[in-house]
Symmetry: C2
Subunit: 275 residues, 2 copies
């Protein structure tokens, strides 16, 4: 690690815009850090694809981020974290973290009755990875997973407060309500945008866990522990936050500007298949 | 064209399973032809992506299909037909046809009041290509386009007959009903699977046009005209119908077996990015 520049940026990637919720938390919690964000908008969504494919895509993105000389990588996508984190981290000489450990840890801290629900894509839920990680942290906890494949398209249509979204959410969540969970992990980066619907359907007594917040905290601790945190006094070379996508750069810029604390001036489109 | 083997297969491609509705019509109407089908399941959907990206993907697929020595290519996807047909056809020394011309022609034949509705993906509708093609065929016809981005995810969830689908369809189609259309083009290969919902919402007096049927007819005429139709007496080398995808081969096999007249024994997965 000695050759790594502690003032280098952190790489953050997702299948599209969802990971911006993680980037936003990093901006809030470690405002001195630089970020290079990549959204794979040409190949999204990941949640309905196979492990092989998501792993191949993740490796290409890691190779791209390395060309940007990042000092650490955050996989800001639950599906890619579920399918690719272990392999990608083992192949890398810089730290790579995902969103699942952080989300699981927050859920374990939050639950009182030991009954946790997890919602996510078909891919994330089918791996059972949240159950595995949560039970490693605290054996005996009951974990109930539920795939919610229509949530991402509904969010992308902007139907945050809508009778169709209510009906779909009510169907998905009813099976978790029946299990008397007291904690619900929003295991897909799009889902926090439906938080108010879920809050209403689940009631005030269920804690909603957003892994983005915990992931930024984990990154902060990791950088500090490895003495890789950026020196706030160091000169900022170029833009602090840089954005790359594989398609539809302007659309991404608009979305990012809407949800991030600072205006996004430019998003660059690259051909990720070349990496 | 003299070097082309008239007994070679026809290449058919789509972003996923939707194009199987076109393959099915070819099987029915020209049962002597061989088919090599490719579904780009690793990168679907196409309907929310840019022209550049869909064109690059289409070119890769054409290069793959050429390795299978196809004699003609059918772009069995409205989005790829809208974005890539013209370019891909101009670059190719074998015939390439799409689904839009056939769908437009059928709609022009069907309409009595000269008011046609077209539903499709955001990409297909944003190009205005159906309007352009229909008006070239018969100037003065009024064409009303409506993007229906939630239909594909609803179909992929199997919600063919469901109150959520009814509500979503009712919103999308109400703007077309207000235009007093008498013909509706199902401008996405997934949409025929929602035909009964649309029939109910639009009423008996609106003709629903499925471009798949007309496309198979156009292929049949084209092959005959160019004397490239397969000799039914020629020896069948290997399987008559071959299927390739970029991801999730088993899932594809199950879906294809459910909707095609013959059982699909095998689907082969390839890395389309290498082409």
């Amino acid at each position: 690690m000695s050759h790594t520049d502690r003032n280098a940026p952190v790489g953050v990637f997702d299948s599209g815009v969802g990971g911006l919720t993680v980037a936003r938390e990093i901006m809030r919690q470690i405002p001195e850090e630089r970020i290079v964000y990549f959204g794979d908008t040409a190949r999204l969504p990941y949640g309905s694809k196979s492990k092989d494919t998501v792993l191949r895509y993740s490796r290409q993105i890691v190779r791209f981020l390395r060309t940007q000389e990042v000092k650490a990588i955050v996989i800001a996508c639950n599906t890619a974290s579920a399918y690719a984190l272990e392999t990608v981290a083992s192949e890398s000489d810089i730290p790579v973290i995902g969103v699942i450990n952080a989300g699981a840890r927050a859920a374990v801290h939050a639950t009182k009755n030991g009954r946790i629900g997890v919602i996510g894509t078909v891919a994330t839920i089918s791996t059972g990875i949240y159950t595995e990680v949560i039970r490693t942290m605290r054996p005996g906890i009951e974990v109930f997973g539920k795939a919610c494949p229509l949530f991402v398209p509904l969010v992308e249509e902007g139907l945050f407060h809508d009778s169709v979204t209510d009906e779909v959410a009510s169907r998905y969540l009813s099976v978790l309500k029946e299990k008397y969970i007291d904690t619900l992990v929003l295991g897909c980066t799009h889902y926090p945008l439906l938080r108010s619907t879920m809050r209403r359907l689940m009631g005030e007594n269920v804690t909603l866990v957003n892994p983005a917040y915990e992931t930024a905290l984990e990154l902060k601790d990791l950088l500090k522990e490895k003495e890789m945190n950026r020196d706030p006094a160091a000169e900022m070379q170029g833009e602090q936050y840089q954005f790359f996508v594989s398609d539809l750069a302007d659309q991404f810029t608009n979305f990012a500007t809407a949800i991030l604390p600072k205006e996004v001036k430019e998003t660059r489109k690259i051909n990720i298949e070349e990496y």
